[in-house]
């Protein structure tokens, strides 16, 4: 396909030698266009797709924010009334907030806060659930040792609590589950005070103070001696406990 001068001269010489003149080949410009086109087309399509994708990603036409809020009769609410309605809603939400002191438990950071409104009155280091799983090798029952999340309230307050060991406590130790309920009682393992929040979960003291700040419990919230005593004396029955 070389069409430089030398090649053509050579061809003429060949022609003179008796093989007849070869027809002059036209330069195949169309081929060049096809080649360039076949290269450019995917690029154009790609850019087109990117552009169309950008349009789709940034059009806000179908956002519901642009649909006006309607009143009971289906009429759009004017902006001034909307502002008043928003202020009323904010008040209604604020009215749902706990009154007085409440307890907030941060299970990720193992912290317990006694709060009043936005103000933290005391920050305490705790031990929350380990997240481990225990499988009963005999019965196949499974326990996950998580601290439950959500809203609870102080349902019971106990001084010198006695731990009534549940089944998992025996299974975990590889011990047989006792038939007598009296054999489940164990003193001096929950510290001096305990606050029950329901479903068998407590905020209580601990023997393992070295592990405060780590997730090591079976779901209860363990606190140091001073902190659990403080909470016992401060929190009344019905105090909200919010766990996240």
């Amino acid at each position: 396909m070389n069409i430089d001068g030398k090649h053509w001269t050579g061809s003429r010489i060949v022609g003179l030698q008796g093989q007849g003149p070869s027809p002059e080949k036209p330069p195949r410009r169309w081929l060049k266009w096809v080649l360039w086109g076949s290269l450019a087309l995917p690029v154009v399509i790609f850019i087109g797709l990117i552009g169309y994708g950008w349009y789709l990603g940034h059009r806000h036409g179908d956002a519901t924010a642009e649909v006006a809020v309607q009143d009971d009769k289906g009429r759009p609410v004017p902006p001034d009334k909307l502002a008043t309605a928003n202020a009323k809603l904010q008040k209604k939400i604020a009215a749902l907030a706990p009154k007085g002191q409440f307890v907030v438990i941060d299970t990720a950071n193992n912290r317990v806060y006694l709060r009043e409104g936005e103000r933290a009155l005391r920050e305490m280091v705790a031990s929350c659930g380990s997240g481990n799983v225990l499988v009963d090798p005999v019965g196949g029952r499974t326990w996950t040792f998580d601290t439950p999340r959500g809203q609870f309230q102080v349902r019971s307050k106990v001084k010198d609590p006695i731990w009534i060991k549940p089944d998992w406590a025996f299974i975990e130790e590889g011990e047989p589950i006792p038939a007598k309920s009296s054999a489940r009682a164990e003193a001096n393992v929950m510290g001096d005070y305990a606050l029950g929040i329901g479903n068998g979960y407590f905020l209580h003291g601990t023997l393992y103070k070295r592990l405060l700040g780590r997730n090591v419990s079976h779901g209860c919230v363990r606190l140091g001696d001073e902190d659990i005593e403080f909470l016992y004396k401060t929190a009344v029955l019905g105090t909200k406990v919010m766990i996240f």
Binding site: I50, Y52, G57, A85, N86, T107, N109, N132, V133
Partner: protein, 219 residues
């Protein structure tokens, strides 16, 4: 004529601002209505306030914790003023719970991972802790909207910076193509890419559990 045009051009931003205000009031109204229902339900919920660059953990209208969003990139615009449910959490390395070893019993598979050469500073604890949570993950809401979370490491090295840059350029190319793909299939593609500080990214993964409700104020 020029005079009229000048007046129109002067007033145009005012009209735009008024429209923005109405849209903002409308969005706020919808969010407040949805929040009121959540707050009354006594459950824990999350408010992802993208214009204010923060994520709040809330219950009964009270903020329990607040996480900052360091940077945000949004793609698409989902419906606002509705309470979403977290449908799925996906991470490259998802944390795994460990099984308690019962004395005298041997498990088929070792429950406790092999202890690495690096010795921990504190006592060895067999537990799922915040440090086990991933820093890069995707939260999928029930309408298909994706909240992609990346953590910003304070001591990020050259590789991490390079990775961040590649991710950024990749976003500009991949998202339009994904949008087109979803459009052809009759859907919409919405994604928010949020960068959080490392600990906060782990904390969000820890607390924001599957089935949790959340409200999102879109930018």
């Amino acid at each position: 004529m020029r005079f009229l045009l000048a007046i129109l051009l002067t007033l145009l931003p005012c009209f735009a601002t008024a429209a923005d205000d109405v849209a903002d009031l409308t969005q706020t109204n919808r969010l407040l209505q949805a929040e009121y229902e959540l707050a009354r339900s006594q459950q824990l919920y999350f408010v992802i306030d993208l214009p204010a660059s923060r994520i709040q953990f809330r219950a009964s209208g009270t903020t329990l914790a607040e996480l900052p969003i360091l940077s945000l990139r949004s793609w698409g615009r989902p419906a606002d003023g509705i309470a979403y449910t977290l449908a799925e959490k996906t991470a490259r390395q998802e944390p795994e719970r460990e099984q308690v070893l019962i004395p005298g019993r041997e498990l088929e598979k070792p429950a406790v991972p092999v202890i690495e050469a690096k010795k921990p500073s504190g006592p060895v604890v067999q537990a799922l802790e915040i440090s086990d949570m991933p820093t890069d993950y995707v939260l999928q809401l029930d309408d298909g909207t994706l909240l992609t979370v990346h953590a910003k490491f304070e001591d990020a090295g050259g590789w991490a910076n390079l990775r961040q840059k590649l991710t950024r350029y990749g976003w500009f190319v991949s998202r339009p193509l994904i949008s087109v793909w979803h459009h052809w299939r009759g859907g919409a593609y919405n994604e928010m890419l949020m960068t959080l500080p490392e600990r906060e990214a782990r904390m969000l993964y820890w607390s924001f559990q599957k089935g949790s409700r959340c409200l999102v104020r879109w930018p």
